[in-house]
Symmetry: C2
């Protein structure tokens, strides 16, 4: 599995590059690590890969990228996203830097963590790709390589915060969605239960949904109305803050 020739080549190239940078005079490197969130109507998930580093070989880790001097930090994070999922122009936010001295086995690497939100259907990892990218349910995350567990938790915390002050959830859902889907999203990200009627009342008062007049199809019960997010209305109101005080 981790012994494929193609895989090995890749490992050593990345590792060599990093080693040479760390062996240079200043001996300090900077990376970005991305927490790419997806949501599949059940769980919040995160995109993980199998680590290349000898010490963590085979362990799951967050996709990252070594920042070279000619690349903006933001750009570097976009590169990770693009490389791993083929997607761009997604919601992405920097969270913070992680810079403990011993966080990386090969030397001093300070990493900047970003998280981004992906509609999960837009990217299904091909099964034969190197590093075996995969969607992992957040409640199935055990250990991760490096300090990535801590990074993931920090990013999740930030996402929760944001979700309560801005209607970010739409980034994780398909264009058309039902109120129930939206509620379930809030419930699984925030880890709480919400009252259906109160949730709907709140959303109505925010007034950022467009009723499409369409309905779910192929469900074996009363189909739900479908809505889409009204970006324009949202942008017009944004400044005042839109709190979901659950």
């Amino acid at each position: 599995m981790t012994g494929k020739p193609e895989n090995s080549n890749n490992i050593s190239k990345i590792e060599q590059q990093l080693r040479s940078q760390l062996e240079s005079m200043y001996q300090l490197a900077v990376s970005v690590d991305c927490v790419i969130f997806g949501y599949d109507d059940e769980d919040l998930k995160v995109l993980v890969i199998e680590s290349d580093m000898p010490k963590y070989k085979g362990m799951l880790s967050l996709p990252g990228y070594l920042v070279d001097p000619d690349t903006d930090l933001e750009e570097a994070a976009q590169i990770v996203l693009k490389d791993r999922t083929g997607l761009s122009d997604l919601y992405m936010e920097q969270v913070m830097a992680f810079g403990e001295r011993d966080r990386h086995p090969l030397g001093r690497v300070i990493t900047i963590a970003y998280y981004s939100l992906v509609e999960i259907n837009k990217f299904q990892p091909p099964s034969d790709q190197k590093n075996k990218p995969q969607w992992l349910s957040l409640n199935q995350v055990n250990e991760l390589a490096f300090d990535h567990k801590k990074i993931l938790e920090t990013c999740l915390q930030r996402l929760r915060l944001r979700l309560q002050e801005q209607p970010l959830g739409f980034n994780l859902l398909p264009d058309k969605f039902s109120l129930k889907q939206l509620q379930r999203l809030y419930e699984s990200v925030l880890g709480i239960e919400l009252d259906k009627r109160n949730f709907r009342r709140k959303l109505k008062s925010l007034d950022v949904l467009i009723d499409l007049g369409e309905f779910q199809k192929a469900v074996s019960n009363r189909p739900a109305k479908l809505y889409k997010f009204d970006l324009e209305k949202y942008n017009a109101k944004k400044k005042k803050g839109m709190f979901m005080n659950f």
Copy 2:
């Protein structure tokens, strides 16, 4: 002023160090920049120094430090604080990394911004110190060197956020303070006016102040009661969040 021999020596040492690091193979350096906030019963202030960099010579900038490979990021920020004010164990929070390619005139320097809260009376900058550290009122900040204006604004925004979810204000005030002082602090940091009675009601309901039974002295009017912050009570309640929804 900027021509003092002692000063010049310092400039070149710092600059040489940085240059040599940037000229090394990997050509990327990491710094920390600190927004040190103080409050003097009137205004929120920030500690600034005069810049050493040729391009920004004499301009005001935030105190910073070049992170060397053996120093934790957090530690580096503490060093800046300690070096500049002599103080340690203060409230300090990392905000985020700033990593635009051209943010630094000498080359690629990614910086991590921290802010911290200081009781302003605990540090009065000596007038003869190099780089002329000084407290600058936030509403007197015009331009700063590098992207430090942006960094300052981001840190201020974070402080405002935090102030509304945790009673951080106490870090900026002396141990004993009146309710009026506390209200003025909130008003100047948040940039809004608050109703005296509503403010007091809110604070009473949070129940994290200890009435010291003491009063202001040497004021030419009715002296106000003095309070102190009840750290224990606060820690016991903290988890539930303590929102000041002004």
